[in-house]
Amino acid sequence: MGRLRRTARLGLELTESLFDAAFSPAWNPFYQLGALGWFFYWVVIVSGIYLFIFFDTGITQAYQSVEQLTQVQWYAGGIMRSLHRYASDALVIVVMIHIGREYILDRLRGPMWFAWITGVPVLWMIFAAGLSGYWLIWDRLAQYVAVATSEWIDTLPFFGEPIARNFLHQTTLSGRFFTLMVFIHIAVPLFMLLLMWIHIHRHTRPRVNPPKGLAVGTLLALLALSFWQPAVSQGPANLNLVPSPVELDWFYLAVLPLADRLPGIWLWLAVGVGTIALVLLPWLPPGQRQAVAVVDLENCNGCARCAADCPFGAINMGSRTDARAFSHQAVVDPSLCTSCGLCTGSCPTATPFRRRSALVAGIELPQLTVASLRDRCLEIGKRLDGRSRVLVFGCDHGLTLDKLIDGDIGAITLSCVGALPPPLLDFLISRRHVDGIVLTGCRMGDCHFRKGIDWTEQRITGERDPYLRKRVPRERLLRCWTGIDQERQLNTEINSFRARLRQLDLEKTGGGDSTDLSA
């Protein structure tokens, strides 16, 4: 299973690398799947509101009103109809890739289960909304959808009289189910919005808007498709005739041919078992959870940087419970903590320059305290030799660093690179424990813990507190955000980096700047 997932991940990252090259990491659609889902949702809602203004809900008038929109008002209503359909299809595509990707990248375990599980009903609601939408047009496709869906529903042993009897013949047709479908098609997306909000509820700074350029590009592409291939009806429904063949929207309606061919109850069972399996995935197979962040009140001054930086809202600032003169203290909610360690990276007390007290950060992970991290760095630094001693920091979700380890290269794997306190980088370089530091891990724009790369970059560039001090020569720091498919690129960059470090040393010994950074 692990190997299969790793192979899938490699394939995924190779594809993402192509998109990185085309779109840049900031615009890569693979890193914006959730945001694109929201974007398509809003396109569907806005276009749907427009269509509803002109839509006649009578069963005999529905087809004419949609035809009027499509043919007479083609420049607005027709385009809106096409956008409504194609954005809905795009929503299915991005949601499916989103689900597969989160699974492959194992972003469903621990506290991340919440987003995963709340996404499952959203998925079914998308299909319910889509199915009911096709019903409303009341063309031949709608007739097929109505008959096939009701025949499938009738295989459930709950209904006294078959629902499909409502669609037996033109002479027996009544509008009651049509009215229900109008209600469902409006109510389900509204309820879905609530669930989508719950879905991202545990994320701080959730991405609900794609970058403007990507949004514009996607919208233009959908508009181009709407002009090139407008969505049209397939002739009015007539229950006296069999609507076959039909042009099926396979994104939404693929289940109906299956229901035609398989016993309906089997298909319901498959849907039920599939849903249960989907819900259980975060715990399959069961794994051991890492210890969560622990607050040390002796060192917590209630500065709230950890609360601001936690990507999962696991830290709140509560009233002080000790006698110290600070108003607040950090409080960790263990059920929300992903053990990423970004809080440690943000804690101003996580500085190895401390001399008067033991190195204990105000908040840190028990499995990798700042003191133990410093000690490991020092131990590795002592072992390294040569003129370009490099320490590589990676993360559990990036490349395995073992292959990099060499006479003058050491490596430490963290839960997330964002767990590195900037003063530690300062300490290692300024005190010449190593000649250079490499930071690597997840792909740029796609940190496993959402904000690890962003916060690290911002701390280094001085945009986010705690800053990396200006005195740290940035040329001794290499940031290389590679995925697991870019091992060669990482090696190349590290080799170039080492060459630059040697050059720097040569320049220094050749009479260049010899400022003692350890001061």
Binding site: D89, G160, P162, H169, T172, A231, E247, L248, F251
Partner: protein, 167 residues
């Protein structure tokens, strides 16, 4: 401004994305019934007779009942299953027993079956038994129908309207 090569790659990606949507939003066509064939649907909802006879209660038994629940007859709830047969051109196409709905088996029996029929004239005969009789049927309907490709013919049943109806 992005490089032309990057813009071109983006255009290809957008085109592939909308191409995928454009194609699978209407293709390939799906025929759930061969368009050269017709469809015959047999569907109805009808309650069979009760399984047991109703028994007239004695005045004492009626008096023993709560006032709001007094009734002259005590009828068993459970109903008989229906037996239905469909013949096409003298050949038996379908024969099935339709159990009553409901947990107590006291609801109507329902049928919803579809049959693909070749175009042309066909004599359709349908029979229904809703009583405890051992032989024969209580209702029967027969009609010669010209089936055209894609035609949807429905056989409904309403006891109050005289039995089977061909729509």
């Amino acid at each position: 401004m992005p490089k032309p090569s990057r813009l071109a790659a983006q255009l290809i990606a957008y085109a592939a994305f909308v191409g995928l949507i454009g194609y699978f939003s209407k293709s390939p066509e799906y025929a759930y019934v061969d368009p050269q064939m017709a469809l015959l649907r047999l569907s109805f909802s009808h309650a069979g007779e009760r399984k047991g006879e109703c028994r007239r209660l004695t005045p004492e038994e009626i008096a023993a009942l709560p006032p709001n629940m007094r009734k002259p007859l005590d009828c068993p709830r459970e109903r008989l299953p229906l037996l239905v047969e469909l013949h096409v051109d003298g050949q038996l196409l379908d024969r099935r027993a339709l159990p009553p709905s409901g947990i107590a088996g006291d609801g109507a029996s329902t049928a919803y079956e579809r049959f693909v029929i070749a175009p042309g004239y066909h004599r359709i005969m349908v029979r229904l038994r809703d009583t405890a009789r051992e032989e024969g049927f209580d209702y029967e309907g027969e009609k010669l129908i010209l089936f055209k490709p894609r035609q949807n013919v429905v056989i409904d049943f309403r006891a109050a309207n005289g039995g089977f109806k061909f729509l």
